[in-house]
C-alpha cells in the first residue's frame, strides 16, 4: 500500500483529526459564495416544489375541468401547468448555472492558496514530500472537494428536507403507518455509519495511492533520459504497473463496498414499502383505513425511496471530499519554518554607506549599530547545521567572515557541506545554531524579499525553466533593461544566446535541456549576476565549462566581483583563481583560511584536494 507515502506525512504534520471536520474547516472558502449557495438552495427547493405542484395541478385539471367537460377552463389551466413547468426548468437552470461558477471559483481560490502556501514552504519541506503527493492534492483532491461542494452539499440538504417533509406528511396522514415508515431511518443510519467507517479508509488509501502513482509518472517523465540511457523503461513500467494495480485493487474494493451499500439503500425503503402495503391491507380489511387513504399513503411513501438512494451517492462523494480535505489541510496546516520578519518590525533597509541609517528608531538592535561599516559584509558566527533526522550535524562550528568586496572561495571534499553552507545565506535553510550575518544583521532579521534581493545565488546544477533565455536571465530582476541583460550575458560568456534561432526569445526547453550543459551553466550564471547583488553566492559555477571558456568567465567574473562580496564554491584550482582568499571546509568546520599558495604549502589536506600529481606531469 502507500503507507510509505502517507504515514510519514501524518507523523510529520498535525493531521486533521477527522476527515469530516477537515472538510468543515474549509468552509471559509465557500463564504464568498454564500449568496450564490443560498440562491442555489432556494432555486433547488423552488424547482422541487414546482415539480411536486405539477402533478397536483394535473390532478385538479383532470378532476375538475376535464371531468366537468369545461373546455374554457382547460386552456388557462393547461397554460398554468406549462408555466409551472417552465418555472421549474428556469429554476433548475439558475441552480446549475450559479453552482458551476461558484464551485469553480471556490476550487480556484483553494488551489491558488495551496500553490502560494507551497511556494512559501521551505525547500526542506519539499525534499521530504513526494512530488506526486503534492500534485495529486492540488488536482484530484481539489476536484473531489469541488464536486461535493457543488452538488453534494445542496443535495444533502434537499434530500434531508424532502425526507423530513414526506415523513411529516405521512405521519399526519396516518400516524402509526407514518411512524412505521419513518422507522426505516434507523437501519439506514446504521448502514451509513458502518459504510462511512469503511469507506473513509478506502477513500484515503486511494488518494494516497494516486499520489504515489503520480510520483512514479512524474519520475518516468522527468527521468526519461536516464531510463532510456540505461534501458530501464521495462523496469520503470513494471513498477508503475505494480503501483497502478494496487490502486486498481483499492478501487475494486471501493466498488464492492459501494455495491453492497447501495443495494442496502435500495432494499431498505422498498422493504419498508412492502411492509406498509401488507400492514395497510390488513388495516383496510379491518376497516381502520379506507382504500383511498392507503393509495394516497403509498404513493406518498414511494417519495421516500429516492432521497435514501441519493443519500448513498452523496455520502460517498462527501466521504471522498472529506478525506481529500484532510490531505489538503495536511499541507495548509504546515507552517513555514522559514518566515520573514514583518517589514515593520524589521531593521530599516540598509542601502549602503552613503545613506545614513535613520536614527529615528528608539532602540536599534545591537547588530545594527555598526552597519555602515559592515555594509555588504558576510559573516558566519559559530554556525551549526543539522539536517532534520540526522544524528550528526553537517556544519559544526563554522566561523568565517567575507569582507565587503572580497571574493572568498570555499573548497572541501565531496559531501563536506559546502552547498549546505551556501544555502544558509539566502535562507533556503536556517541555521540550527549560531548565526549568519549580512552587513552586521542576522539574516533572520532581514525581511525575506529584501534578503533575497541582497543575495544573488548560482546553483551547482543550473535550475532553468522552460521559458525564453531572456525570461530565464531576468528571472530575479524582471525590471532589468536590455543593456543590463546584455552586460550580464557578456560577463557570463553567454553571448551565444544571441545566435540562437530566435535570439534571446528562443525557448530553452524544460530545465533548459535544449542547451548544452555549459550553456545552461552560463545562462544561470548570468541570471545570478544580473541584479548586481551585494552578496553573490556561487556554487561551483564553472564545473561544466571547458578550459578556454572557464578562463574567459573567470576573467570577466573577476570584474563583476570587484565590488561584490562573493562566496564561491570550487573544486578546481582554476576556479580558485577567482579568490582573494580560500577557505577549506573539513569536518564541519573551517579548517584553514588563506591564499591558495599559503594553503597549498601549509595544509596537506588542501594540497591533496587541489593537486592532481598523477596527471599534471
Amino acid at each position: 500500500m502507500s503507507e510509505t507515502g502517507s504515514d510519514i506525512r501524518s507523523t510529520a504534520t498535525p493531521a486533521a483529526a477527522a476527515p469530516v471536520s477537515a472538510l468543515w474547516r474549509l468552509r471559509p472558502y465557500l463564504r464568498p459564495y454564500r449568496l450564490q449557495l443560498l440562491s442555489m438552495l432556494m432555486a433547488a427547493l423552488g424547482a422541487e416544489a414546482a415539480a411536486i405542484a405539477i402533478p397536483l395541478l394535473t390532478k385538479s385539471i383532470i378532476d375538475g375541468a376535464i371531468t366537468h367537460h369545461d373546455k374554457r377552463l382547460l386552456l388557462p389551466l393547461g397554460l398554468a401547468a406549462a408555466g409551472l413547468g417552465i418555472a421549474e426548468a428556469a429554476l433548475s437552470l439558475i441552480r446549475r448555472w450559479v453552482q458551476g461558477s461558484a464551485v469553480a471559483g471556490m476550487e480556484k481560490t483553494l488551489r491558488d492558496d495551496l500553490y502560494a502556501h507551497l511556494q512559501n514552504l521551505e525547500p526542506a519541506f519539499h525534499d521530504g514530500w513526494q512530488s506526486g503527493q503534492l500534485l495529486s492534492r492540488a488536482t484530484s483532491d481539489l476536484s473531489s472537494i469541488r464536486r461535493f461542494a457543488g452538488f453534494g452539499l445542496v443535495f444533502l440538504i434537499i434530500t434531508v428536507t424532502t425526507f423530513t417533509a414526506v415523513a411529516v406528511l405521512l405521519i399526519r396522514l396516518n400516524w402509526w403507518m407514518g411512524l412505521a415508515a419513518s422507522c426505516m431511518v434507523a437501519p439506514v443510519v446504521v448502514f451509513c455509519l458502518r459504510f462511512e467507517r469503511r469507506y473513509k479508509i478506502l477513500a484515503r488509501r486511494v488518494q494516497d495511492q494516486e499520489g504515489d502513482l503520480a510520483t512514479l509518472i512524474e519520475e518516468g517523465a522527468t527521468g526519461v533520459r536516464v531510463l532510456k540511457a540505461l534501458g530501464r523503461a521495462p523496469e520503470a513500467a513494471a513498477t508503475h504497473a505494480a503501483q497502478a494495480t494496487q490502486m486498481y485493487t483499492t478501487k475494486v474494493s471501493m466498488a464492492r463496498l459501494l455495491g453492497s451499500f447501495w443495494s442496502m439503500l435500495d432494499l431498505i425503503p422498498n422493504a419498508a414499502i412492502a411492509l406498509i402495503l401488507v400492514l395497510g391491507a390488513l388495516a383496510v380489511s379491518r376497516h381502520a383505513l379506507t382504500i383511498g387513504g392507503l393509495v394516497a399513503f403509498i404513493t406518498l411513501a414511494l417519495q421516500l425511496v429516492w432521497p435514501i438512494e441519493a443519500l448513498g451517492y452523496i455520502l460517498a462523494s462527501g466521504e471522498e471530499a472529506a478525506t481529500a480535505a484532510q490531505r489538503v489541510l495536511e499541507i495548509l496546516d504546515t507552517k513555514p519554518s522559514i518566515t520573514s520578519v514583518p517589514a515593520s518590525t524589521a531593521n530599516p533597509p540598509d542601502h549602503g554607506p552613503q545613506r545614513n541609517v535613520p536614527a529615528a528608531r528608539s532602540q536599534p538592535p545591537p547588530s545594527q549599530a555598526a552597519s555602515p561599516a559592515r555594509w555588504g559584509q558576510l559573516s558566519f558566527e559559530a554556525v551549526e547545521f543539522r539536517y532534520p533526522g540526522s544524528a550528526e550535524p553537517v556544519l559544526r562550528d563554522v566561523t568565517l567572515t567575507v569582507a565587503r568586496g572580497e571574493t572568498l572561495v570555499i573548497t572541501g571534499a565531496t559531501g563536506s557541506g559546502k552547498t549546505t553552507l551556501l544555502q544558509l545565506v539566502p535562507r533556503l535553510a536556517d541555521v540550527t545554531g549560531g548565526r549568519v550575518l549580512i552587513g552586521g544583521r542576522d539574516v533572520r532579521d532581514i525581511p525575506l524579499p529584501e534578503l533575497r534581493t541582497l543575495v544573488g545565488f548560482g546553483f551547482e546544477e543550473a535550475t532553468l525553466f522552460s521559458a525564453s533565455v531572456r525570461e530565464n536571465v531576468m528571472f530575479g530582476a524582471p525590471d532589468a533593461t536590455a543593456a543590463q541583460v546584455e552586460a550580464a550575458l557578456t560577463a557570463a560568456q553567454a553571448r551565444f544566446a544571441y545566435d540562437l534561432p530566435w535570439g534571446l526569445d528562443t525557448r530553452i526547453g524544460e530545465q533548459g535541456m535544449a542547451l548544452s550543459g555549459g550553456q545552461r551553466q552560463r545562462v544561470a550564471l548570468a541570471r545570478a549576476i544580473l541584479a548586481r547583488p551585494q552578496v553573490l553566492v556561487l556554487d561551483d559555477p564553472l564545473s561544466a565549462l571547458d578550459v578556454h571558456t572557464e578562463e574567459r568567465v573567470t576573467r570577466a567574473l573577476g570584474e563583476v566581483l570587484a565590488g561584490t562580496t562573493a562566496l564561491v564554491v570550487a573544486h578546481r584550482p582554476s576556479t580558485v583563481a577567482l579568490a582573494d582568499r580560500v577557505a577549506l571546509l573539513d569536518g564541519g568546520v573551517i579548517a584553514a583560511v588563506g591564499t591558495h599558495r599559503e594553503l597549498l604549502a601549509t595544509q596537506p589536506k588542501y594540497a591533496s584536494l587541489m593537486t592532481m600529481e598523477e596527471v599534471a606531469r
Binding site: I66, L74, G78, A82, L84, I86, E88, A89, S92, R96, W97, G100, S101, A116, Q119, H126, S131, L134, L135, T139, L213, G220, A221, T222, G223, V224, R225, K228, A229, L230, G231, E235, M247, Y248, V252, M254, D266, A271, I273, V284, G389, A413, G415, R452, F457, L464, S466, F475, G476, E510, S516, G518, Q519, D540, A544, L545, D546, M610, T611, A616
Partner: protein, 670 residues
C-alpha cells in the same frame, strides 16, 4: 484557432497529438477524433466482453426489478385488497407481497453485482490504459518529450485518466436503465393512445437538436478544460521542480500571478462547461414539462370530445412522468461521457504518436562479440592499478562472491566497434518566441561527422562547450536518429537493433545525474536490476562511493529523497557512476561524469575506470583533461567537426588545439 485552415484528405496531419491545442475543431476532424477515441475504447473493452455482457445483464435485471416494484404496488391495490375487504381472502395479497419481496431482493442483488462489476471492468480498463500510456510514453523519443514537456505527460496520465475513470464510477447504470425505461414506457404509451404518443415522440425533435448542440459545444468546452488543466499541471510541476531557484530569486509573487491566471483559465473553462450542462439539463426539463402540459390540454380536448376516457389520460400522464425522469440521468451521464471523451481524444492521440526513434521492423542480430583487438595499446591499464577490489578482478583475493559485476560471465564483453558514417544531425528548433526563427531550418549541430572507434578503444572527446560532444553521445545511445548518414555498432545500423539489445550493449551516463525516489541501492541497481547486494556494494566500493554510503543512516538502504536531494551533488554523481559501472556494457559513454567531484574522488573514479574499461569500448567526454590520461585516443571537437584526432602523447607533442588546451589546463593546476 480552427481546424478550417487544414486541407485534410485523410486527416494525416492530425495524427497523434497534432490536434491537441485546437479546441474548436472542424467537423471532419471532430469525426476523426471521435473515431479514434472510439477505436481505443473498443480495443480496451474487448478483453472484457463477458464482463460487459454480465454487467449489462445485471443492470437490465436491476432496472426491471426496480420498475416492477411500483407496478406491483398498483396490482396489490387493485387486486390484492378488494378480496380482503369483500371476503377476507388474504391469498392474492400474500402472493403479491411475496412477489414484491422477491423483486426487492432481486433488485438488491442485481444492484450490488452490477456496481461491483462496473467497478471491476471499468478499473481494469483504466489500469490497462494507464499501462499502455506509461509504456508508450517511455517508448516515445527524447525529442517528443522535449517538445511535449513532462507536465503534459503527467497531466495526461493523471487528470485525463481520472476523467475516464470517473465515467465508469458514475452513471453507467443510469444510461442502461433509462434506455430500458424509455422503451418500456414508450411502448406502454403507444399502446394506450397513439395520438398522445405522437405528441410525445414529437418532443424528440427538439431533444435531438438540443443534444447535438450540447455535444458540439461541450466537446469544445471539455477540450478547453483538459488543455487548461494540463497547463496548470505544467506550471505546478515546473515551479516545485525548481523551488530553490524560485525562492532565491523571489519569483513567488510573479509565479502566483501566472498560476492565478492559469487556474483562472481552468476555472473559467469548467464553469463554462457546467453552464452548458445547465442549459442542456434544464432544456430537457423544459421540453418534458411543455410536453406534459400539451398532452394535458390535447388529451383534455380529446376526453371532452368523447374520443378518449379520463382513465386513459390519467395513466398516460403517469407514464409520461416516468418517461421523462430518466432523461435527466441520461443528460448527467452524457456530460461525464463528454468529459471522458475529450480525455480519451488526447490519450488516443498520444498512443497514436509514433516513436520518431522506432524499433526496427526487421531487427538484425549483432555479430558475436570479438576478442579485443590486440593492436590497441593500453598503456594506462597497468596491472598495479587493478589492486583495489575492482569488479573485474577475478583474483581469489576478492572477498566478495564471484562473479564480479563488471565482467559478468553472462556477457563476455570485449567491446564493440562504433562508427559514425557521414552523420548529419541537428535538433528541431524548439518552441518559439516569435513566428519564425532567424533561419528557417533546424540549426545543424553535426554537419558531416565521421568517426571510427575500434572495439575496446577508449576515446576522449574534448572541445568547447556547445561543440556537440553531448550530441555525439546521444546519437551513440540512439536518443535521436541522424538526419543523414548512419551510426553503426559492429557494422549494424543502430536503427536495425532492437531496443533491448541496444540498451544492453550501449550505456550512456548523461551529463545530468538523475536519481529516483528510493534507496541508494535501488538507484545503483538501476544499472543492472539483477545485481545482488554484494555486487552493488562492490561497485560502490570500486568507484570510492562506499565510504560515504556507509556513513549514511541506513547505508545502502537510505532513501535518497526526491531527485536524490538527501545527497550532495558529487554524491549523486557517484551514484550515477556506480550505475554505469555495474551495468558494464560493451560500449560505455560517459558525459562529464566527474565534473562535480572533488579531485581525490575523481582520481578514484579514474582508477576504477582503468580496470572497468579494459576490453570495452568507451567514449569519455570531459573538460578536465585529467580524464584524458586514460584514453587511447583524443578527439578535439569544434562546432561539430573533429579538428584533431590522435593518441594523447602525439597530440601533446604538436602545437595544435589539444596541446594548447593541455598547457592551459596544466598551468591552471598550480
Amino acid at each position: 484557432m480552427t481546424g478550417e485552415a487544414a486541407p485534410q484528405p485523410a486527416g494525416l496531419q492530425w495524427r497523434g497529438i497534432a490536434a491537441e491545442k485546437v479546441d474548436d475543431v472542424s467537423a471532419p476532424l471532430a469525426a476523426l477524433l471521435r473515431r479514434r477515441s472510439r477505436g481505443l475504447l473498443t480495443d480496451l473493452l474487448r478483453p472484457h466482453k463477458r464482463g460487459v455482457m454480465t454487467t449489462a445483464a445485471a443492470i437490465v435485471v436491476a432496472s426491471l426489478a426496480a420498475l416492477a416494484g411500483p407496478w406491483l404496488v398498483g396490482v396489490a391495490i387493485d387486486q390484492g385488497i378488494p378480496p380482503i375487504t369483500s371476503s377476507g381472502d388474504a391469498g392474492p395479497l400474500t402472493w403479491i407481497a411475496a412477489a414484491f419481496a422477491v423483486t426487492v431482493a432481486v433488485q438488491a442483488v442485481a444492484t450490488r453485482s452490477f456496481v461491483t462489476m462496473t467497478g471491476r471492468v471499468g478499473q481494469a480498463v483504466v489500469l490497462e490504459l494507464r499501462r499502455r500510456v506509461f509504456w508508450h510514453m517511455q517508448a516515445l523519443s527524447v525529442a517528443f518529450h522535449e517538445s511535449y514537456t513532462s507536465g503534459r505527460v503527467i497531466s495526461r496520465q493523471t487528470s485525463d485518466i481520472e476523467a475516464i475513470s470517473a465515467l465508469f464510477e458514475e452513471g453507467l447504470d443510469s444510461l442502461i436503465s433509462a434506455v430500458l425505461t424509455l422503451l418500456l414506457v414508450g411502448t406502454g404509451m403507444l399502446l394506450l393512445d397513439w395520438r398522445l404518443a405522437v405528441v410525445v415522440l414529437a418532443a424528440f425533435v427538439p431533444l435531438t437538436l438540443l443534444a447535438g448542440w450540447f455535444r458540439n459545444h461541450s466537446a469544445i468546452a471539455y477540450r478547453r478544460i483538459r488543455e487548461a488543466n494540463s497547463l496548470v499541471i505544467v506550471h505546478f510541476v515546473e515551479t516545485f521542480g525548481g523551488l530553490r531557484a524560485v525562492q532565491a530569486f523571489r519569483r513567488e509573487h510573479r509565479n502566483e500571478e501566472i498560476f492565478d491566471e492559469l487556474s483562472g483559465e481552468y476555472a473559467k473553462a469548467s464553469a463554462w462547461s457546467s453552464r452548458l450542462n445547465a442549459v442542456f439539463a434544464s432544456g430537457i426539463s423544459l421540453v418534458a414539462n411543455v410536453v406534459i402540459a400539451t398532452v394535458l390540454v390535447y388529451g383534455g380536448v380529446l376526453v371532452i370530445d368523447g374520443s378518449m376516457k379520463v382513465g386513459v389520460l390519467a395513466s398516460f400522464l403517469l407514464y409520461l412522468q416516468r418517461f421523462f425522469d430518466p432523461l435527466q440521468d441520461v443528460s448527467q451521464f452524457y456530460n461525464s461521457f463528454q468529459g471522458a471523451a475529450s480525455a480519451l481524444e488526447k490519450l488516443s492521440g498520444i498512443l497514436e504518436e509514433d516513436p520518431s526513434v522506432p524499433e526496427p521492423a526487421a531487427p538484425l542480430a549483432l555479430p558475436a562479440a570479438a576478442p579485443p583487438a590486440p593492436a590497441i595499446p593500453r598503456s594506462a591499464a597497468s596491472p598495479a592499478l587493478a589492486a583495489p577490489p575492482a569488479p573485474s578482478s577475478r583474483t581469489p583475493a576478492t572477498t566478495l562472491p564471484p562473479p564480479a559485476a563488471a565482467t559478468s560471465s553472462a556477457l563476455p564483453s570485449f567491446g564493440r566497434r562504433v562508427r559514425f558514417e557521414s552523420v548529419r544531425f541537428g535538433y528541431r528548433p524548439g518552441g518559439s518566441g516569435g513566428s519564425s526563427p532567424r533561419e528557417g531550418t533546424a540549426a545543424v549541430v553535426l554537419p558531416d561527422f565521421s568517426l571510427d572507434i575500434a572495439a575496446g578503444q577508449t576515446v576522449a572527446l574534448v572541445g568547447e562547450t556547445g561543440a556537440g560532444k553531448t550530441t555525439v553521445a546521444r546519437l551513440m545511445a540512439r536518443f535521436y536518429d541522424p538526419l543523414a548518414g548512419r551510426v553503426t555498432l559492429d557494422g549494424v545500423d543502430l536503427r536495425d537493433l532492437p531496443n533491448a539489445v541496444l540498451r544492453r550493449e550501449v550505456v550512456l551516463l548523461t551529463q545530468e545525474s538523475f536519481l529516483f525516489e528510493g534507496t541508494v541501492a535501488d538507484n545503483i541497481r538501476l544499472g543492472r536490476p539483477a545485481a545482488s547486494d554484494a555486487e552493488v556494494a562492490q561497485a560502490a566500493r570500486a568507484i570510492g562511493a562506499h565510504e560515504f554510503i556507509a556513513a549514511l543512516p541506513l547505508e545502502y538502504q537510505t532513501p535518497v529523497g526526491k531527485r536524490g536531494g538527501r545527497l550532495s551533488a558529487g554524491q549523486r554523481q557517484l551514484i550515477s557512476f556506480a550505475r554505469a559501472f555495474i551495468a558494464a556494457p560493451a560500449v560505455l559513454v560517459l558525459d562529464e561524469a566527474t565534473a562535480l567531484l572533488d579531485i581525490p574522488s575523481e582520481r578514484l573514479v579514474q582508477a576504477a575506470l582503468r580496470t572497468v574499461l579494459t576490453g570495452r569500448t568507451a567514449v569519455i567526454i570531459a573538460h578536465r583533461l585529467s580524464t584524458v590520461a586514460i584514453a587511447d585516443r583524443v578527439l578535439v571537437l569544434r562546432a561539430g567537426e573533429i579538428i584533431e584526432d590522435g593518441a594523447p602523447a602525439d597530440l601533446l607533442g604538436g602545437d595544435g588545439e589539444y596541446a594548447d588546451l593541455h598547457a592551459r589546463w596544466a598551468a591552471s593546476l598550480v
